[in-house]
């Protein structure tokens, strides 16, 4: 818990995201974006924790995020992703999808593209709940059960999957360049392949009876293992962490007790996937660590775009067999997995987290942003 500072920002924070750093350098991230929700005037904001920020006011304020710029956002920011170094895509409760541009020289934000009512009901707006980017492609999902495919710099909609879900879709992630994975409010994971026509998913995985109560547990977040694209982590209403192997069966490989309320986000560490982070409505932020001794190879591979690893993962060789299975056999009772609380006890929901390098940022309903620059990875 050392080295973690709270910054009160007078807005409930729904999303926090680091600006990506170039994968070649070993540089730590120093800029992040936040989105607010449930305020009369919501906004997206850009913050700096680096020395090149507004001013460094001695050791006392080291790491205290400084606001660089802010821009009004219509509706709650329900999701937020960096498209590239200077473009940010947001999903709004009004159903709009917006691309903002961050001008580094003048430290200002402007709207560079807007799809109003990207998600909608026949008469009303439908909240857009999730967005994922694989520049220049942008995929959004919404409470209207639609999946939309956009391309930055193109005005129209590339593809719409109507009635992709009978209930609300809560989150989306890319599995491969043409495949996405969505999670919905009745505990299902659906795989979609954009190469295939039609409105049917290529695969449905279901939490079904595996949940704690046997009910259908709404899922709220999903993240893919950065190197092994068939391994996926999800979290939902009961706060359990589920690890799935999308190649095998339609049941989770492992289920782990994590939080006591909704898990809002889960993230594998992008360059060190033996570590995983999750945050929850119960106000906790957990750091999960597999005590696998083969972490080093994956760490050396670094970066998010390691196609070699992913191919070898499909046909595993004996050498990294244990690496592949680190999460799949993940079982806290056997001591493979260690969890640590990363925040001092606090009561209000931690809505979002992002981790990059040794830096972690999260935002809460207590209107605070926490930054930790020394995550033990």
């Amino acid at each position: 818990m050392e080295g973690i500072n709270a910054k009160y920002v007078s807005k409930k924070i729904s999303k926090t995201r680091w600006r990506p750093v170039s994968s070649s350098s070993l540089q730590q991230p120093d800029i992040f974006a936040t989105g607010s929700w449930d305020n009369e005037d919501n906004s997206i904001s850009i913050w700096s924790i680096g020395e090149n920020g507004v001013s460094s006011m001695g050791d006392e304020f080291e790491g205290d995020p400084q606001l660089l710029c802010e821009y009004k956002h219509n509706g709650d920011v329900l999701d937020l992703q960096f498209l590239d170094q200077d473009r940010i895509v947001t999903a709004s409760s009004t159903g709009a999808v917006t691309i903002f541009r961050h001008h580094h020289n003048s430290q200002t934000l402007s709207v560079s593209q807007l799809w109003e009512r990207a998600h909608h009901y026949p008469c009303n707006n439908a909240p857009c709940t999730g967005v994922v980017c694989n520049s220049p492609e942008i995929v959004t999902v919404g409470e209207d059960g639609r999946i939309m495919l956009f391309r930055a710099d193109q005005e129209g909609v590339l593809r719409t999957i109507e009635k992709a879900d009978s209930s609300a879709i809560h989150a989306v992630t890319f599995l491969r360049t043409t495949e996405i994975l969505t999670v919905n409010s009745i505990g299902q994971l659906k795989l979609w392949d954009f190469r295939q026509p039609g409105n049917e998913p290529s695969q449905i995985l279901s939490l079904g009876g595996a949940s704690r109560t046997g009910d259908r547990v709404p899922l709220h977040c999903v993240d893919r293992h950065p190197n092994q694209q068939h391994i996926v982590a999800t979290g939902g209403q009961d706060g359990m962490l589920c690890i799935w192997d999308v190649r095998q069966g339609n049941m989770p490989i492992s289920l782990m007790e994590a939080h006591t309320s909704e898990m809002w986000e889960v993230h594998f560490h992008p360059s060190n996937p033996g570590h995983l982070f999750s945050c929850s409505e119960d106000g906790s932020l957990l750091h999960w660590e597999t005590s696998s001794n083969t972490d080093t190879p994956s760490f050396l591979q670094g970066g998010r775009n390691t196609s070699i690893i992913s191919r070898s993962a499909i046909a595993p060789t004996g050498g990294n067999q244990s690496l592949i299975n680190a999460w799949l056999t993940g079982d806290s009772s056997k001591g493979h997995l260690e969890t640590t609380h990363m925040l001092p006890s606090q009561m209000l929901s931690v809505n979002s987290l992002d981790v990059l390098g040794q830096c972690l940022v999260c935002g809460t309903d207590g209107e605070a942003i926490y930054v930790n620059r020394h995550v033990p990875i």
């Binding site: 007078s10 409470e143 209930s167 809560h170 449905i204 009561m347 207590g366």
Partner: protein, 651 residues
């Protein structure tokens, strides 16, 4: 009727003439709605004003900087509630003091930020507004600090004066600024504010600092060296009570009297007669009230005067004696003609240990409940408020917290904080929460889930149901049957689930296909929520079996839907029609017994309505008759085949 403590303030409503029109109003939790009424003694109606005005007392809740105060103090508040009841009170006191300090540091942080923006803002009106907020926070912190010294820390004689000195020093920090300015100047001893600084230090009992500054002057006047040395000696020797040491209060008192006699001697010897400033300092050291009052400007407040007076005249004052000195200091210091400000009477009430008067006066003077709510809560934890009972509500603490939390709940964003405050109001908190939580506007499912989680954690099943129902209705309005069904399942609302199942079946009848299969195929145990939902699930299962060509399973299920009375009567005809293709298969699927049962079902259905209803068009009737004819034929043929098959002995 009870008398009013202060005259209520008047809020003019823009564009409203109170001589001609009448106003109606409705109380809200944190505001009132005011509207024009059409009331006329002689009847007749005039065109009323179409506006409804919202009158709010508390603007602070909308200040982004003060929001930090609400958020951070919420954290401290919850921490305070978690201090265990059974801890011996001796161990709790340091915790309470540290919590009180936490509250104050949050106020200070807010104040500093407000000060910064007040300086940097270009807008004059805004700067004034920030300035006002700063002065309110200053006063609030001043009162809180005094309450901390007197009530929470409850310093005993000896330490009491030390604590009060700290209190005065903290809130009269401009001395240090002036001192820096003087010392930074070219020749400090000749600076016009030089003596002000020295005397201010003495008045605050900061003898070491006063001596350091005095040295500058001594260096300039070598002739008066002896005199300066003498005063320096007196200042150095002044005994200060040290509660950490083994020294008793009596020992200290003896020592102090001894020192005072020494100072007295110097005065009588006229040792300082040649230097007015030094003589004044010496007179201050013996607590000469007339000289003290000459330095009114430097003291600036009556409570500074009080503390200085105590330091030099009654350093071992007991808490119980405070009120006497406080009253007299106030009267001596303030102009007899001027009326004391609210702050003065609040502080005086504190010195008189009249906690309730402090809380009451603060409630009147401040425009929101943040301060009184949190302070009262802390004092209540210190067991200082038990004797007092209200003749309304439960007790003072709960009453104030409820008011504060209700105010928060009116805010579009801060409502979440209020929940924890309601939780810690044992008597009425839950009722308040129940009433408020249902009225939170729900724009997104995520927000709805958060609200539901709050309710579920508190076993508020009625509210969970109602919120789910709101969401289900919303989904239905947007033609999202799947979502609507999910919500009503979560609400365990059988009636609504039935309604939506009906809609699904209607859609099926109209389109011939099911929508939202991902949901219906995965109902699981939720299917049992309502009969109609069970039917929907089972009927869909029949279609799946049929699609998978598992005909005999499908046939069995179809029949059981009717015989077990799961299917509504209105749907039997559809079911029987569904049986047609099964009857027409080459293979015998329905056994003889099953065919009999199907026939019974058909008879039961047709016998009830032999008389054709007049409002039904003839064409429909024709189709219906043909259908029945067809069914009868198929049933008969199937029966024949089944009997033959069942009667045939395999050889």
């Amino acid at each position: 009727m009870e008398e009013v403590d202060v005259e209520p303030t008047t809020t003019p409503i823009p564009g409203f003439d109170s001589n001609q029109k009448h106003l109606g109003f409705v109380w809200g939790p944190g505001d009132i709605l005011v509207y024009e009424t059409i009331y006329k003694a002689s009847g007749g109606s005039a065109g009323g004003c179409p506006f409804v005005h919202e009158v709010r007392k508390d603007e602070d809740i909308y200040s982004p900087i003060l929001r930090k105060l609400f958020n951070e103090s919420h954290h401290i508040f919850v921490g305070l509630q978690r201090i265990r009841e059974d801890l011996p009170s001796k161990n709790k006191k340091p915790q309470f003091v540290s919590i009180s300090k936490n509250y104050r540091s949050v106020i200070r942080a807010c104040m500093e930020e407000l000060q910064q923006v007040a300086v940097s803002t270009q807008d004059a009106a805004l700067a004034t507004q920030y300035g006002n907020q700063v002065s309110i926070l200053l006063a609030v912190e001043l009162i809180w600090n005094l309450c901390e010294v007197l009530f929470i820390d409850a310093a005993p004689a000896g330490s009491l004066v030390l604590h009060l000195l700290d209190w005065v020093r903290l809130h009269k920090a401009d001395v240090d600024e002036k001192a820096r300015e003087v010392l930074a100047s070219e020749s400090p001893a000749e600076h016009q504010a030089y003596w002000d600084v020295v005397i201010s230090y003495v008045l605050q009992g900061r003898m070491d600092e006063a001596r350091q500054v005095l040295v500058k002057q001594a260096a300039l006047q070598p002739a008066a060296r002896v005199m300066f040395k003498l005063l320096d000696n007196l200042l150095m020797k002044m005994p200060i009570f040290n509660p950490g040491e083994t020294q008793t209060l009596t020992e200290f008192d003896v020592k102090w009297r001894h020192w005072r006699e020494e100072v007295d001697h110097c005065l009588q010897d006229q040792s300082f007669a040649s230097n007015r400033h030094l003589e004044d300092i010496c007179k201050i050291l013996v607590g000469d009230e007339d000289v003290l009052l000459e330095y009114k400007e430097l003291l600036s407040t009556w409570y500074h005067f009080l503390v200085t007076r105590l330091l030099f005249s009654h350093p071992t004052v007991k808490p119980t004696e405070l009120h006497y000195y406080a009253q007299s200091s106030m009267h001596m210091f303030l102009d007899t003609r001027s009326v004391p400000e609210p702050l003065d009477s609040i502080l005086l009430a504190a010195f008189e240990f009249d906690i309730h008067q402090v809380i009451k006066d603060c409630s009147i003077a401040l425009n929101n409940w943040w301060f009184v709510g949190h302070l009262t809560d802390l004092l209540d934890h210190c067991k200082l408020l038990q004797s007092h009972n209200l003749h309304f509500g439960s007790n003072l603490r709960e009453f104030l917290l409820l008011e504060y939390a209700s105010g928060l709940f009116t805010h579009h964003s801060l409502w979440q904080l209020a929940v924890d405050y309601f939780d810690h109001c044992p008597e009425f908190g839950r009722v308040y929460l129940e009433l408020q939580i249902e009225r939170v506007p729900l724009d997104t499912e995520r927000k709805a889930l958060k609200v539901i989680r709050i309710c579920e954690q508190r076993q508020m099943t009625e509210q969970v149901r109602s919120i789910c129902k709101i969401m289900a209705k919303k989904a239905l309005r947007n033609n999202r049957l799947g979502s609507a069904l999910s919500w009503s399942i979560r609400a365990k609302d059988a009636a609504f689930a039935t309604l939506i199942s009906e809609r699904f079946l209607q859609d099926y009848c109209a389109k011939g296909t099911f929508s939202d299969l991902d949901l219906i195929d995965n109902l699981g145990p939720a299917m049992l929520l309502s009969d109609r939902l069970t039917f929907l699930g089972k009927y869909r299962e029949f279609h799946r079996l049929y699609g998978e060509k598992r005909f005999s399973d499908a046939a069995k299920l179809l029949l059981s839907l009717m015989t077990a009375k799961i299917a509504p009567h209105s749907f039997w005809m559809t079911l029987l029609t569904d049986a047609l293709p099964l009857l027409e298969q080459k293979e015998v699927i329905f056994s003889a017994d099953q065919t009999h049962e199907l026939m019974f079902c058909l008879e039961e259905l047709t016998s009830g309505k032999s008389v054709p209803t007049p409002d039904r068009p003839m064409q429909d009737e024709d189709i219906e008759t043909t259908k029945i004819e067809l069914l009868r034929l198929a049933l008969a043929r199937n029966l024949a085949m089944a009997i033959v098959k069942e009667g045939t002995v395999e050889v």
